[in-house]
């Protein structure tokens, strides 16, 4: 039963990792940009939540109403102001610019909030649990998982059923021809980054409720998100969720063997997938 419990807890943890990964997957899919600052933006989302909670006394989950639009606007501005200038055939500019951005965010947070770990208090929901078939499932992990499924379903729906999703796919297919259709790719990319950072805000708030965070926490979140994307297969959002779950389960199983192996087990799962199936478990059918 202990092992079953570890698998179930790992699956729920995978929901959080899928939230880390969804934004990464989205912007890679649309503009082939890999954002090294993604993890730091998640942590920025956590701090944003903390500021809103401290200033207004809101419940952290209610603070999403503020954090999500603020991060979305930030994403749009960031893309149009800086990142659009880096897009092209050369790989280095986007990589190095987002790396610089990562260092800036980290140190700005350090300057503003010190290196002390912070946490958001969500009250009774943090400790509440329900009993399912003899397993105690935390309400918060369940909620996180449900939100992750909801976010991915919503992104999927948006991608395939709305004019915006059509625009994203068209620009991703062929930027020049999309311009001919009246789509300004700079604006479309801005919207994509805005959307990605909206998801990031959700990830940041759930991260900040679940565990403590500090300005240096971004690197780990980037790596988990990245691993979930690669395990699941590039360009497949449901695959990303599956990748998050595999990562989460590997971690809880590793921790079961020895607490020191928790993170390592996740990385090893990633490396095994890379060795055996480098295209990921569920790559998008190329079209």
């Amino acid at each position: 039963m202990d092992w079953v419990n570890a698998v179930v807890q790992g699956t729920l943890l995978g929901g959080l990792y899928a939230l880390f990964a969804a934004g990464l997957s989205l912007i890679f899919g649309i503009m082939r940009l890999v954002n090294i600052a993604h993890g730091d933006l998640i942590v920025l989302g956590s701090y944003l939540g903390l500021v809103v909670v401290t200033a207004t006394g809101m419940h952290p989950l209610v603070a999403l109403i503020v954090a999500v639009p603020v991060m979305a606007v930030l994403g749009y501005v960031l893309q149009r102001g800086i990142l659009n200038q880096t897009l092209g055939d050369d790989l280095l500019p986007p990589l190095l610019v987002t790396f610089g951005l990562s260092v800036i965010i980290q140190n700005a947070l350090l300057e503003g909030f010190t290196a002390d770990p912070q946490k958001m208090n969500a009250g009774a929901i943090e400790t509440a649990s329900v009993s399912v078939g003899g397993l105690q499932l935390g309400v918060l992990p369940l909620l996180t998982f449900a939100i992750a499924v909801g976010v991915i379903a919503a992104l999927q729906w948006m991608f395939y059923n709305t004019a915006l999703g059509r625009a994203f796919r068209a620009v991703s297919d062929n930027q020049e021809i999309a311009q001919l259709m009246g789509l300004n790719r700079r604006h479309v990319f801005g919207l994509a980054m805005g959307l990605a950072l909206a998801v990031t805000a959700i990830a940041g708030i759930f991260l900040g409720i679940r565990t403590s965070f500090d300005p240096a926490a971004g690197a780990g979140r980037l790596i988990y998100g990245f691993e979930a994307v690669i395990i699941g297969g590039l360009g497949n959002l449901w695959g990303t969720l599956a990748g998050g779950v595999i990562l989460g389960v590997s971690q809880t199983l590793g921790a079961k063997i020895d607490p020191g192996y928790q993170i390592l087990a996740g990385h090893i799962a990633f490396l095994v997938v890379l060795a055996v199936r480098p295209q990921g478990l569920f790559p998008r059918v190329s079209g």
């Binding site: 004019a163 059509r166 625009a167 796919r169 068209a170 991703s172 297919d173 062929n174 020049e176 021809i177 999309a178 311009q179 001919l180 259709m181 009246g182 789509l183 300004n184 790719r185 079209g287």
Partner: protein
């Protein structure tokens, strides 16, 4: 004489380090259909790219309804009512047939063209509306590309090599549809390798040779000899 819809004055254009157009002058009146002919490398595709905004020029080298548009981006040019049917169809592979058409509609311009009107023009597309655009035949893809441009309800439509790589019977059916498109007062510019096809549907023609206008005149008035001379550069 009324103002032209589109005019190019001393248009120079570069393709990489290579100068593709040298001082091209051209006018197109409202409702007119121009044929642009010329050998490979004469600068026809560069001309299409310049007008549609895919490559940038000095503002005053291209004017549209008395407005300088040479330096505008492609999406801004599209917003003014100029649509391009690009060479090689260039459909969006991850969009279905219907989605490819709908994306053309984005400009929100009013006019006679709608999804239903395109389906009436090319009924096969209605049958295949839900399939991936990549699963269509070349001719059907060309119909989608034309329909996609029409969905924007443009005032000026540019066709770049629409018969390239298609079977003669398909080319015929597409050219048979053209009068129904331009008959409603839409202006058009048709870049074409097939000279007789180009002449049959156009009012006037320009022949480009090595980036310069070598010949211009009414499509019905010019002699075959004059076209050959301008086309191949013999005797000039």
């Amino acid at each position: 004489m009324p103002d032209p819809l589109l005019s190019l004055s001393a248009l120079d254009a570069h393709y990489g380090d290579f100068q593709a157009l040298y001082g091209v002058d051209m006018t197109l009146m409202q409702g007119e259909v121009l044929a642009i002919i010329g050998a490979n490398g004469a600068g026809k595709t560069t001309l299409m790219r310049s007008i549609s905004g895919l490559s940038q020029n000095a503002p005053n080298q291209i004017t549209y309804i008395n407005q300088p548009i040479g330096a505008l981006r492609a999406d801004q040019v599209a917003g003014l009512g100029i649509a391009l049917v690009p060479e090689g169809r260039q459909l969006f592979p991850s969009l279905s047939v219907e989605e490819n058409l709908l994306i053309g509609e984005r400009m929100g311009r009013k006019g006679p063209w709608s999804l239903q009107a395109v389906f009436d023009l090319f009924p096969i597309l209605e049958e295949r509306r839900a399939v991936a655009s990549t699963s269509l035949s070349g001719g059907q893809q060309q119909m989608v590309a034309i329909g996609r441009a029409l969905m924007a309800n443009p005032d000026l439509i540019l066709f770049d090599e629409i018969s390239l790589g298609l079977a003669p019977v398909i080319i015929k059916s597409i050219y048979d549809a053209l009068p129904g498109i331009v008959g409603s007062g839409m202006s058009a510019m048709i870049v074409e390798q097939d000279i007789s096809k180009a002449l049959s549907v156009s009012d006037r023609l320009y022949c480009l040779q090595e980036g310069r206008v070598a010949l211009e005149g009414a499509s019905q008035g010019v002699s075959r000899e004059a076209i050959s001379a301008a086309y191949f550069g013999v005797g000039s």
